[in-house]
């Protein structure tokens, strides 16, 4: 366990310079695409890092693979599906909009609508509720008020 932990730490904390100068593609447009794709792919041996940020050997291999596919003429989507076919859905930092993930992607909007609806009902009710409630005192408060007035 300790060795594993150390291994993970080593992979994680190696001196940064994720993207090495020799990896950079000559075509800046294609390099930009490679960087964008890399930022969305998870480094499998690291903790919560994209391959673009990671210095692990595996991350470098994946970065080179991404660039290789791009040079071979793949579209961005093709490169990503190429990697996902080999490493599984886990590599995607952006969850796909498929199956149960639809719940995840819809959650913000649904929660906002739900919360917004409830808030609106509340605000409306506050606006309509009659003023007398404001004046109503409990028996206890009434007694205290009487006390205070007597003083």
């Amino acid at each position: 366990m300790r060795a594993l932990l150390l291994g993970v730490m080593l992979a994680l904390a190696s001196p940064a310079l994720a993207v090495q100068p020799d990896e950079v593609l000559p075509d800046p447009v294609m390099e930009e695409r490679a960087r964008d794709i890399s930022a969305g792919l998870r480094c499998l041996v690291c903790r919560n890092e994209s391959i673009d940020e990671s210095n692990a050997t595996l991350a470098r291999d994946l970065r080179l693979l991404v660039r290789e596919r791009l040079v071979a003429g793949d579209s961005d989507a093709e490169v990503v599906s190429f990697i996902v076919d080999r490493y599984g859905e886990y590599v995607l930092l952006r969850p796909t909009l498929t199956g149960s993930n639809i719940v995840l992607w819809l959650a913000p909007a649904v929660l906002l609508l739900l919360g917004g609806g409830l808030s609106l009902v509340y605000v409306r009710r506050r606006a309509q509720s009659a003023a007398p409630t404001e004046a109503a005192l409990s028996v206890e408060e009434e007694a205290r008020l009487k006390d205070l007035l007597r003083e």
């Binding site: 150390l6 903790r47 919560n48 995607l92 930092l93 913000p108």
Partner: protein, 661 residues
């Protein structure tokens, strides 16, 4: 010997906490004043015992007592003194001891400063607070005891994780814990109020300073952590949507919502049950945060103490307190009818919008954070939820908040006209749009989102100024300036904090939208151009000896285009031999409008070194803004305390008046 005394004190504190959890509660139920009064000395005793225990552990770290398992695993004789001390909480056991130390400190503070609380409420608050402490004392003593001795002590320790050996990170956990645990006070007040069955304006006034203090500490803690990640992890990011970062962001967002809704309770006696629910949830998210960090259930950079058994224990604590409090809430919330009436356009409604956006965004972060866990448990899908999701799902809420904030902040209570407020804000609006358009024009080709973000950030800053200025009333300029300085601190605090939000937003948008990056093999002595600057790797020094590390240090000159040198940076790559771990130290030239950020990489076969240079516009505004937010909180807090004291004197005067009757 001192260590054993510390251990013993901890066990005693556990006993006191159980006593304090039961006796005052029963006393409050039966109206027995003596039983209730016992909570005060108990709270103080509990704190002193825990403080002694913590001091004993610190002593063991300072003197490098390697007969203690914890010291061996996390310290080393060569380590600088600051990190020997910060090593106390740089690990699971010690950090939990710090957790309960702060918890008991807050309990004691409630006892010391709570003289004007009604006795039953005070007794109940202290009892609930103590029940949380009891759970954590049990957790420490039964699963994570820091005072375990080693049978055969080694000659030296295994050193603290080098990443944690940094001034930014030395003080990051204490602040974060002050925030997390500070929310326990809001929780205790909420549960006590539910038991009492009574929430009124006074309750709102008592809860707010605690929440505000917790929020200020969380702000500082999160800011420190983000700043540390920026300069220490070596790729210049400041927020990674890591589960552990999310764990601190969720309580922060909820606390922000809570401290605003508590104002409505205090001033208008509305939103009562919602505020109670927020107070419960805020501490719930603190516990969830602790669970996420301590169980390692969501793998993350920070979980240096993975242990499922401990995770289950915290989950049980979480289930007990959240389940109990929410059950109580379900039974009692109905009894708390609102009093204040307000129209649809009013400050109250503005604060409802604030609460809606903050609460929903919290749940979005929550769902994203635990989604991998849910997907794996229910659908057996192993997947990741990373920054792309959070950026897409969270940012709109912050944009929405930014649009609404300056308007909502200026709306009067009860009934307002939107027209008047919008008219007052026209200058802010014009300024925001102008600067947004300027950003769009200067940086052609980048996404349209960044200029919008810039405009919103300016809108927030300018809106805060307009808000403050509008409070000075009418009349000549001199008179208004005079009144400006005499405005209550709470008004200043509000505007300062709101401006801080704008400043942080400005930094975040500028940094993510407009940074430049350059990666290349740099030959020593050959300058090259990055943006407006000339960069030259002068030389690289190898085997530089640090106190407990060996470093490879680059010397990099940063010059203006005309050749005048503006900075000499020293990016480093360090190896900590004891921990066997490399780290990087970026060379950063901090500036008001930009940072030049340089990291050193591997030596290349061709003779040069890999060097990475970033120009990060307005980076410091991110943390500057968090400091200003915290400052706003402090200002507001100081005003409250003033009022608090005034309230206390008034209460005392009233009591003195009773015998005379």
């Amino acid at each position: 010997m001192i260590v054993e005394l510390g251990h013993f004190a901890l066990i005693l504190a556990f006993m006191v906490s159980i006593f304090q959890m039961i006796v005052p509660l029963v006393g409050a139920q039966r109206g027995n004043a003596a039983w209730m009064a016992v909570a005060d000395p108990a709270a103080t005793t509990q704190f002193l015992l825990t403080a002694f225990s913590f001091a004993a552990l610190t002593y063991a770290f300072v003197t490098s007592d390697f007969s203690l398992n914890l010291v061996t695993a996390n310290s080393h004789t060569d380590k600088p003194m600051l990190y020997k001390i910060s090593g106390v909480w740089g690990n699971h056991e010690g950090s939990l001891l710090l957790w309960v130390l702060i918890l008991t400190l807050f309990g004691a503070c409630a006892s010391w400063f709570g003289a004007n609380l009604p006795p039953t409420l005070k007794a109940r608050v202290l009892a609930v607070q103590s029940s949380v402490a009891a759970a954590f004392f049990a957790f420490i003593l039964f699963t994570s005891n820091p005072f375990i001795r080693l049978e055969i002590p080694p000659f030296d320790g295994q050193d603290l994780n080098p990443l944690l050996q940094d001034p930014g990170l030395a003080f990051h956990p204490p602040f974060l814990y002050l925030g997390y645990v500070g929310l326990s006070m809001a929780f205790s007040f909420a549960v006590a109020a539910l038991i009492e069955g009574r929430v009124d304006a006074a309750w709102g006034r008592w809860v707010r300073p605690w929440t505000l203090a917790a929020w200020v500490f969380l702000t500082i803690g999160i800011g420190l952590g983000s700043w540390w990640a920026y300069y220490e992890l070596g790729w210049g990011g400041f927020w990674f949507w890591d589960p552990v970062e999310n764990a601190s962001l969720m309580p922060w967002l909820i606390a922000a919502a809570l401290l605003h809704s508590a104002i409505v309770v205090e001033k208008r006696e509305a939103l009562k049950s919602w505020t109670i629910l927020l107070a419960i949830l805020a501490f719930g998210f603190s516990l969830i945060g602790t669970f996420i960090v301590r169980s390692g259930v969501l793998t993350s950079v920070h979980a240096f103490a993975n242990d499922p058994e401990r995770g289950v224990f915290i989950l049980m604590i979480l289930a007990f307190f959240m389940g109990g409090a929410l059950l109580l809430f379900a039974f009692r919330a109905g009894t708390m009818e609102a009093k204040g009436v307000f129209s649809t356009v009013s400050r109250e409604s503005g604060l409802v919008v604030n609460n809606l956006l903050l609460a929903v965004s919290t749940f979005v972060v929550f769902i994203g954070t635990i989604w991998p866990l849910i997907a794996e448990m229910i659908w057996d899908r192993t997947l990741s939820v990373g920054p792309p999701f959070f950026n897409a799902a969270f940012t709109p809420f912050m944009f929405g908040l930014a649009v609404a904030l300056p308007i909502g902040a200026m709306l009067p209570w009860k009934r307002a006209g939107l027209g008047r407020v919008v008219t007052a804000l026209v200058p802010a609006m014009v300024l925001a749009v102008a600067i947004g358009l300027l950003a769009y024009a200067v940086f052609t080709g980048s996404s349209a989102l960044s200029p919008i973000g810039i405009a919103l950030a300016v809108w927030l800053m300018a809106g805060a100024v307009v808000d403050l200025w509008s409070r000075t009333g009418r009349g000549d300029l001199a008179g208004r300036f005079g009144r400006l300085w005499r405005l209550p601190r709470a008004d200043w605090g509000k505007s300062v904090a709101h401006a801080g939000v704008g400043i942080t937003m400005f930094g975040v948008v500028a940094l993510t939208g407009y940074q430049t990056e350059d990666i290349r093999v740099a030959q020593p002595g050959t300058p090259y151009q990055v943006g407006p600057y000339q960069i030259e790797l002068l030389s690289v020094e190898q085997n530089v000896q640090g106190p407990n590390y060996i470093s490879t240090m680059g010397h990099v000159a940063v010059r203006e285009a005309d050749g005048t040198q503006i900075a000499l940076l020293h990016p480093e790559r360090r190896i900590y031999p004891v921990a066997g771990m490399p780290t990087t130290e970026a060379g950063i030239d901090n500036g008001f409008t930009r940072d030049v950020y340089v990291t050193l990489g591997e030596p290349q076969a061709s003779g040069g070194w890999a060097v990475r240079v970033w120009l990060k516009p307005f980076a410091n505004w991110i943390w500057g803004g968090t400091i200003i937010m915290a400052l706003g909180g402090f200002l507001s807090l100081s005003d409250r305390r003033y009022r608090f004291a005034a309230g206390a004197t008034k209460a005392r005067a009233a009591m003195d008046g009773v015998p005379a009757e």
